[in-house]
């Protein structure tokens, strides 16, 4: 055979190793091009001389949070702002789920005909393509500035990810179970109750919990366009250089996000393993 005719020495194998340098040169050149283009558009002009001082003040503020803001239990206090942020995220997630679920069923390739599922996917990608703050601005035109606009924005921006994950869950459905129920003579409602819901519920609950976790982070941004939550006061406090209040708000935000992240991971791992 040919195998025996070929000599395998170390020196020969070293010669046969693939050539890497063209790849490396091309990627370095591409990187340099990107950096060059970057310096054309990104310029470091108005650097503030007080930058370092501000940085030190930020650090100081975070380690000495304003106690007045933390202990304030009225509507302008930290606790209420965080509660409002959580409420926006919660309601947004619930409304987003109710909107995303039918969309996900429509766009699952295994359930509906090709044309319908394609159009469903198109609707989802159009909803997803708009940046979230544009929704915020548009909803404020309707409701006026306030947390209600935030709820609407959250629910629309949640649709994209929720429906995408839900479609995956629905397409993974085991059709054998439904066929078996069919053979046993179950009605459509019974098939949904005993064939589809038990298969989907834990998956969908876990998706929704995950999105709630993401939404809490998102809800803290919405304030920038006037859609409620802690965002607006946080940005105003930073602009006004009230570092102690900034520190208190950042601390509150970090703690809330961490708590919900912890709860969400615990719940989801419980749902995935079936307790």
């Amino acid at each position: 055979m040919i195998m025996t005719a070929k000599k395998l020495t170390v020196a020969q194998q070293l010669k046969n190793q693939p050539v890497y340098w063209p790849k490396v040169v091309i990627s370095i050149l591409a990187l340099l091009l990107v950096i060059y283009l970057g310096t054309q558009t990104i310029e470091l002009k108005n650097v503030n001389q007080k930058g370092l001082e501000i940085a030190i003040n930020i650090m100081k503020g975070i380690f000495q949070p304003s106690l007045a803001l933390i202990t304030d239990m009225s509507k302008s206090g930290l606790a209420y702002m965080l509660l409002e942020t959580i409420a926006i995220a919660f309601l947004g997630t619930i409304v987003g789920m109710t909107l995303a679920l039918p969309l996900a069923f429509i766009s699952s390739r295994t359930i509906t005909p090709k044309m319908i599922s394609r159009s469903g996917l198109l609707i989802i990608s159009i909803i997803r393509a708009f940046p979230s703050f544009m929704y915020g601005i548009m909803f404020i035109k309707v409701t006026g500035p306030g947390p209600f606009a935030g709820v609407l924005t959250m629910s629309v921006t949640s649709i994209g990810m929720l429906s995408k994950l839900m479609i995956e869950a629905i397409e993974d459905l085991d059709h054998g179970i439904i066929e078996a129920l069919d053979a046993a003579g179950c009605s459509t409602i019974q098939k949904i109750r005993y064939g589809i819901i038990p298969q989907l519920s834990s998956n969908i609950i876990s998706i929704v919990i995950y999105r709630f976790d993401v939404n809490i982070k998102q809800a803290s941004i919405l304030g920038i366009v006037g859609a409620g939550g802690i965002g607006a006061s946080l940005i105003f406090a930073i602009s006004g250089m009230r570092w102690k209040e900034v520190g208190a708000m950042l601390l509150g935000l970090i703690i809330v996000v961490l708590i919900f992240e912890f709860i969400s991971t615990k719940l989801r791992s419980k749902l995935a393993t079936g307790e």
Binding site: L31, V34, I35, L37, G38, T41, I42, E43, L44, K45, N46, V47, N48, G51, L52, I54, I58, L83, E84, I86, A87, I88, L91, I94, S125, A129, F130, P131, S132, F133, M134, I137, M138, F139, K141, V142, T143, G144, G146, P147, F148, G150, V151, K217, Q218, S220, I221, I224, V225, G228, G231, L234, I235, I238, S239, L250, L253, I254, V257, L258
Partner: protein
Amino acid sequence: MLNLIKKIFLPDTFVLSNGKSIKEKFNWGPYITIVVVILVIISAQITNVDINVWIKNGKNFVQMIDDMFPPNFDFFSVMFKPMVATIMMSLLGTLIAAVLALPVSFYLSSNPEFKLNKYLLTSNRTLLGLLRTLPVLVYAKLIALIFGSGAFSGMIAIAIFTFPICVKMMYEQIETVDMGPYEAMISTGASRARSIICSVFPQVKGYYYSTVLYNFEMNVRSAAILGYVGAGGIGVLINTQLTWRAYSNTGLMLIVLVLTVIIIESTSRYLRRKLV
């Protein structure tokens, strides 16, 4: 009526033919539903949800979209440079974060073969987790104050925001890697850095590029808003045009933004499918 409530909330008891009674598995469903409904009502009160507003002002929503069309195409020459700056700052920010994240992620993966200090590992991971909790807008605002407003601040903010995400995605991947080649290289006397480069990195290479692309995709989306807090890019322009109520200009920017996002997303998705 009482029977129905009992049937929903309490587990049924079945009596078998041999006289044994068996209780159904306890169902948390109804209780959780009630709690969720109560929470929805409370949240609706906190956030002033009012459906009547929609009946009264619903037309404003359509009106604004209507004002944006037809978009003003002459505005393209003005918005071209900020748009490129938006893409560039997310690209460079992601690149900086990705380059820094790669070595760090090796120091934070809990593979027993790396022989890293357990307490150091946990504390460093927690520190990075804290960085991950804040939204990118807060970083942008703080950094715009330190470095002055402009695309440079946006770039740094994106780098700070992307770094912990990249590190987390990478170390989770590194932990699933086959460590046999690494041990083999170590036993031949190669240094740790050399063994990581030659035996562990090739296994996660595809995933690494895919992570970078994914983060770039996300950052282009979020970079548009950074201008609102003075961190450069197209957001500044959108903000001013909206306050001047120049909706046809905003319409053009929105269309270009959406198209850019879709193009970048589909290219990155195509590349990622090829990589992994």
